[in-house]
């Protein structure tokens, strides 16, 4: 090889290794995320909530060769719940409480970090956590615990704009990854234990100006207000703390809502309590409510319906339908028509003891004596639910719906609630059933029939979600720190790694320099695995 040729070759290698920082993550790129499987551009991998990677390099046959490539450790002891996003050679993660870090995908070394001071003593129900960021064009977006939405320069982490969404002192916080759609950032909020009034917001991605707000609890005079006794709607909660899905063709946003306030004692809020525990479907341009489906009317068990809606095209009684799958915290998994909102099918997918089933409209037929009591009442599922914020996944090639399922009950107690702005507004709670050995499973369902195809049992109820890949795998993790891969066709384990800390997040897959990787957060670490050479 001539010297010139050698230099040219080295230059090519250099260009390859020192690839430029990412190009613009346009809306069109996210829309066609399946065309660039090497990246992971939005929370669920695509707008449809599939958490399915089209990458197929890692397979059941070679998964046993997965080895750690690098580990990135966060510097706090708070829960690490982020879904990483990947664009080119940069991975964007949020770190608790509300920081954002850009990592080099080759080495795991930080490229920049945005650090946000968060007040020490702020009203939070469930830890100083954050579940991820959104990217759009040349910006990275994060919702913060102190209720701001911040846009960062994707190349440097510098703040481009920072707006206050709500007053965190009232108990409103941002923990969900925002959802970036065409020119807008959709942002959900948390705080359902503080008697807040829930909402879902859309902001202009360039300026941070609010485009619309959908209140999840109607005021007196609006449709649905009659489902709240007296003034109870004022503390109605129905928060929006997990990232929803988006149908670009219908231009509709599908987003789950949380529990009505107060929890565990519904005496002060008689009625169905709309739009708590609902799937709300909104016009992406205006925030107008197109339809809703309430899974648990008048919830007294804290079964937020914030699970990720999975949008698929499926066949129902010989007819092709646009569907939404929703494995709910209340123990039932639902199939709805995503154009009309009509109930198509539903079935319990974990043990449940509170309803005799679902009626023809999908409304639960609630059994007597299943509400919390002062002395305690045993009901399944527990307050963590059959599943919760952990993501499900859908493999379109195998036509299977995967759910990290939890088998556990609780003794539910009823108490009294006192509302004070910024204080916990709980009226009871739950305790473990003595002697119960709770467990979990990764379950695969036929989407339309909710028929169980296989299951892989877990030692304890999982706190993390699943990832499906076109290579024919389902990745997941356990509370005891194992991360694993299952053969997607039969649920057989083909790889595992003890990461030393509970897996309480949702895995992703991406490719770098032609090699597929899988990323998990577990404990305080972000672990990236690839096949050994």
């Amino acid at each position: 090889m001539s010297r010139t040729a050698l230099l040219s070759c080295l230059a090519s290698v250099w260009l390859c290794l020192a690839a430029p920082l990412p190009a613009q993550v346009t809306y069109e790129r996210i829309l066609e995320a399946g065309n660039e499987p090497e990246n992971w551009l939005t929370y669920s991998g695509n707008y449809l909530g599939h958490r399915h990677s089209p990458l197929r390099q890692i397979t059941p046959e070679n998964a046993s060769r997965l080895r750690p490539k690098w580990v990135y450790q966060i510097s706090t002891t708070h829960g690490f719940e982020a879904t990483p996003l990947v664009d080119g050679n940069v991975m964007y993660i949020s770190e608790p409480p509300s920081d954002v870090t850009a990592l080099d995908t080759r080495t795991g070394r930080p490229l920049w970090k945005y650090t946000r001071p968060i007040p020490e003593n702020m009203p939070l129900c469930c830890g100083r956590v954050n579940r991820g960021v959104a990217v759009l064009d040349d910006m990275v977006y994060v919702g913060t615990l102190d209720s701001h939405l911040v846009a960062l320069d994707a190349k440097s982490g510098q703040v481009r704009w920072d707006i206050e969404v709500a007053d965190y002192k009232a108990g409103i916080s941002m923990t969900a990854a925002p959802l970036a759609i065409n020119g807008k950032i959709i942002l959900g909020m948390a705080g359902g234990e503080f008697g807040v009034r829930g909402f879902l917001d859309a902001y202009d991605a360039k300026t941070g100006e609010r485009a619309w707000r959908f209140w999840t609890v109607p005021v007196a005079g609006e449709p649905g207000a009659e489902t709240w006794a007296g003034d109870s709607w004022k503390q109605g909660s129905a928060t929006t703390w997990v990232t929803g899905s988006y149908d670009p063709e219908l231009n509709l946003i599908y987003w789950g809502t949380g529990n009505p306030g107060p929890d565990w004692n519904g005496d002060v809020r008689k009625g169905d309590n709309l739009y708590s525990d609902c799937l709300v479907v909104l016009d992406a341009d205006t925030g107008e409510l197109k339809w809703y489906f309430q899974f648990t009317p008048h919830d007294v068990h804290d079964w937020d319906s914030v699970q990720v809606p999975v949008l698929i095209d499926g066949e129902v009684r010989g007819e092709q339908r646009k569907l939404v799958l929703f494995a709910n915290r209340n123990g039932f998994s639902y199939v709805l028509d995503r154009e009309s909102g009509k109930f198509v099918n539903g079935k319990a997918y974990v043990k449940q003891t509170w309803a005799s089933g679902l009626d023809d409209n999908g409304r639960p037929m609630v059994l007597p004596n299943t509400s919390p009591t002062v002395d305690g009442n045993i009901v399944y599922p527990n307050l963590g639910g059959g599943t919760n914020w952990q993501s499900p996944a859908y493999n379109p090639e195998l036509h299977l719906f995967f759910v990290a399922s939890r088998e556990m009950g609780h003794i539910y107690y009823k108490g009294e609630a006192e509302f004070k702005v910024g204080s916990l507004y709980n009226a009871g709670g739950a305790q473990k059933i003595p002697g119960e050995e709770a467990y979990g499973a990764i379950r695969a369902f036929h989407p339309e029939s909710v028929e169980l195809k296989w299951e892989f049992p877990l030692h304890s109820p999982p706190g993390g979600g699943v990832l499906s890949t076109a290579g024919g795998l389902v990745f997941g993790g356990t509370g005891e720190g194992d991360v694993f891969a299952l053969d997607a066709t039969n649920g057989k384990p083909v790889w595992r790694f003890q990461a030393g800390g509970s897996m309480r997040a949702n895995p992703i897959s991406y490719a770098s320099e032609g090699k597929q990787y899988v990323a998990f957060t577990a404990g305080r670490g972000l672990f990236v695995f690839g096949l050994d050479e």
Binding site: D263, D375, G429
Partner: protein, 261 residues
């Protein structure tokens, strides 16, 4: 609300360095009244009595009907213990109660201490002799004197369990097993059977200690059977082997084991 609420709140209450280093001001205590006392008793019966007994006489949980409590020297301390739980023990936080309710329960528990304490008959010195000798308790238990590892550490068992609970445990060891204790029998692929106490387990592995104090680590894919013998105890019942007087003395000795109280 989040799955993590219980643990996260517990952690935020117990693990927060700011909480650990400085005692926060307590919320105001509602005025004492017969109604509030009754509410406290009602909450106590639902949440606390299953472990501490309906009158605070103790059970699997500590005896509360006594003038001085181990983890709370005054009512403020008692409020904090009820609110936060006791780390490293079976006592959970009462996160499901609001502050007023915790105060009601605090008031009721405080009133229990004013009742006459449970009398414990028997001679603890003689009981220690039975513990070391005829009862052969050292084989499996550690207390003031080091012993085996198969059974629970008894160093402070008198502060954690009531006399009646201990007596029942001696007569019927399997009547109520400690939550963390699970006897497991593992059968290996080559037919070898090992029985011991589960030390840890996850989806793919299990670790046990056999009754000769040997550690065993198994990959589940490598064993043919894991028999979780819930409610089974290797401890013999002492109904036939100890006289009534010996049993009473042994209970008196166990009750005297109070750790660093």
């Amino acid at each position: 609300m989040r799955l993590a609420l219980g643990l996260a709140l517990l952690c935020s209450l117990l693990c927060s360095s700011s909480w650990a280093q400085t005692e926060e001001e307590l919320p105001p205590r509602p005025a004492a009244s017969p109604e509030n006392q009754a509410l406290g008793e009602k909450l106590f019966q639902g949440h606390c009595a299953p472990c501490h007994g309906p009158g605070g006489e103790g059970g699997s949980g500590a005896t509360l009907a006594r003038p001085k409590l181990r983890h709370a020297s005054d009512v403020e301390g008692l409020f904090r213990v009820i609110k936060r739980g006791v780390p490293g023990t079976e006592m959970p936080s009462a996160w499901q109660m609001n502050d007023r309710e915790v105060w009601f329960v605090t008031g009721f528990v405080d009133s229990l201490g004013k009742r006459a304490p449970e009398g414990v008959p028997g001679d603890p010195v003689a009981g220690e002799g039975i513990y070391r000798g005829k009862g052969n308790c050292l084989m499996c238990h550690t207390a003031e004197i080091p012993g085996g590892l198969a059974g629970p550490d008894l160093t402070d068992v008198g502060a954690r369990r009531s006399a009646s609970y201990l007596r029942r445990s001696l007569l019927e060891p399997e009547a109520d097993m400690p939550a963390e204790f699970l006897q497991v029998r593992v059968v290996t692929r080559d037919g070898k059977s090992i029985t011991g106490v589960r030390l840890n387990e996850d989806t793919f592995t299990i670790q046990i200690r056999d009754y000769s104090d040997h550690l065993h680590s198994f990959l589940k894919e490598e064993v043919s059977e894991i028999d979780k013998q819930r409610g089974k105890s290797p401890m013999p019942g002492y109904k036939e082997t100890l006289t009534e007087a010996e049993l009473t003395d042994l209970v008196a000795y166990l009750v005297s084991l109070r750790g660093e109280e």
